[in-house]
């Protein structure tokens, strides 16, 4: 794995340029045969690597291929996750919930290049076209988290926000509870589903599903979301971009879901909130009322003020921006 990672990093640092096998072999103090095998492994994992006798190897620019190898190479705890990378699926959450019911362990991850029935909250569709987005779900059993279960969606939002910043250097905000926005457009959504075992009164498992519009879709967004959906990047796909983003989000997840980092996580959640000071519609089930947002509290709850000055602390329901 180490040599694979070194070779990949070298290729990425010179995307579109030729590097000779001999030079790489010298640089990493291995045989040319080892470099050759590493290249073959990377090609098998889906990397667009060209090789020409006399010139060496190069990573083609403009392509971003999802692969388990590419994700694992960038993970801090590669052994903590087990990946199943697929092309097109109906919904990564649905597949993972089924695996969870059959006893799949914590750390099982389903990654898809596109979804036919990507789901948002309450069965709303999440537009998931091929080649340009990230759609993945990971499984948590109760032993895998030591913080209150109902803050897991908020932690996932912080991990996603931080992942996007780290990999692409792009500032983004969080709309309570777990939507990611860039310039008032939604670029990522999270759907966290759990199953409650009534005998214990606690969750048997939690599935966190994250969908991100990384690049502009080949065809434009559907009419109904055209004015609210956005993408993380404008330009052409970056090699390994999606793999690195998935790995970064999981790395951030590991960090921010740790009990000792919850205060930091909560602070970031408040700082990144795009709602502070804004007018919203609060919807709790069938009740709707206008309010303005004061802040988030340290339990990731939203503090809003109604027109008559009454303050409410929200721990369920949702808010929409009044435009």
């Amino acid at each position: 794995m180490d040599i694979l990672k070194s070779v990949l990093t070298a290729l990425e640092n010179h995307t579109g340029e030729w590097i000779s096998g001999g030079k790489l072999a010298d640089q990493f103090d291995v045989s040319r045969n080892t470099i050759w095998r590493a290249m073959n492994n990377l090609i098998a994992a889906g990397y667009p690597i060209e090789s020409v006798t006399g010139r060496g190897y190069r990573l083609s620019s403009g392509k971003d291929v999802l692969s388990e190898t590419g994700i694992k190479l960038n993970l801090k705890r590669p052994d903590a996750y087990e990946f199943d990378c697929r092309g097109t699926v109906d919904s990564t959450n649905r597949i993972l919930k089924e695996l969870a019911r059959d006893g799949a362990p914590s750390g099982t991850v389903i990654v898809a290049d596109s979804q036919l029935k990507g789901r948002g909250r309450f069965g709303r569709t999440f537009h998931s076209p091929p080649g340009t987005g990230i759609y993945f779900s990971f499984l948590l059993r109760p032993e895998a988290y030591h913080v209150p279960v109902n803050i897991l969606p908020a932690i996932a939002a912080v991990a996603t926000s931080e992942g996007i910043r780290e990999v692409f250097g792009i500032k983004n905000g969080i709309k309570w509870v777990n939507d990611i926005y860039i310039d008032d457009r939604k670029v990522a959504g999270i759907l966290t589903e759990a199953e409650i075992d009534l005998e214990t009164g606690s969750q048997a498992y939690v599935v966190v599903g994250i969908g991100i519009n990384v690049y502009a879709p080949l065809q434009s967004f559907p009419e109904e979301i055209k004015n609210i959906a956005g993408t993380v990047l404008d330009g052409e796909p970056r090699p390994n971009g999606r793999n690195r983003l998935i790995a970064a989000i999981l790395n951030k997840w590991d960090y921010y879901s740790a009990v000792e980092n919850i205060d930091e996580c909560s602070r970031l959640f408040r700082e990144r909130s795009i709602l502070k000071g804004r007018d919203v519609q609060v919807t709790i089930g069938r009740t709707t009322y206008p309010a303005s947002v004061i802040d988030c509290d340290d339990k990731f709850q939203l503090i809003v003020e109604q027109i008559d000055g009454t303050r409410q602390i929200l721990s369920c329901g949702e808010v929409t921006l009044s435009l």
């Binding site: 109902n150 803050i151 009534l198």
Partner: protein, 163 residues
């Protein structure tokens, strides 16, 4: 069965608000039924342990008297009755919003009268965008849904009766 035994059975039935009792010999075939007062229109049929012995003996009953007594029953006695009759009351495991269906357009997970199996999804309770699917612990029939779609529920609030 002597008359004293019948009388004591009738008293016991009145105490529990039962309107019907069928009973068979020592092989035990027992059928208990409670028809509640008109004000409370929930009809809760209860059938318990039916086995063996075909010899029949029925016990007389007085609907009017038992119904009147049923109306006087206090809450504690009612709960006791429910436990005895193995009705499961599903209580909310969390504070949140109760959703009867996966989406506003979708068919509800359950309806009154529907048979459910252990492990079937009964409803969703949303809290902090965590969608908690509540599963049935038992096989049975949905007797009553005590909250409506989109209602905010408290921890421990009764949601659904399954019998």
């Amino acid at each position: 069965m002597d008359i004293e035994k019948v009388k004591s059975l009738m008293q016991e039935m009145t105490r529990c608000g039962l309107s019907e009792l069928e009973w068979e010999g020592e092989g035990v075939k027992l059928k208990l039924k409670r028809e509640t007062a008109a004000a409370d229109r929930d009809f809760i049929p209860m059938t318990t342990s039916v086995t063996g012995d075909p010899s029949m003996s029925t016990v007389g009953q007085d609907h009017a008297a038992s119904n009147q007594k049923a109306a006087e029953l206090n809450g504690a006695a009612k709960d006791e009755l429910i436990d005895e009759a193995s009705i499961t009351v599903v209580k909310s495991p969390v504070i949140g919003v109760f959703y009867a269906a996966a989406s506003p357009e979708a068919k509800p997970y359950i309806e009154v009268g529907q048979k459910v199996k252990k492990g079937d999804v009964l409803c969703i309770i949303e809290a902090m965008k965590l969608m908690n699917e509540v599963l049935s612990e038992v096989d049975g029939e949905i007797l009553k849904i005590l909250v409506s779609d989109g209602e905010k529920v408290e921890y421990g609030q009764p949601l659904i009766k399954i019998g």
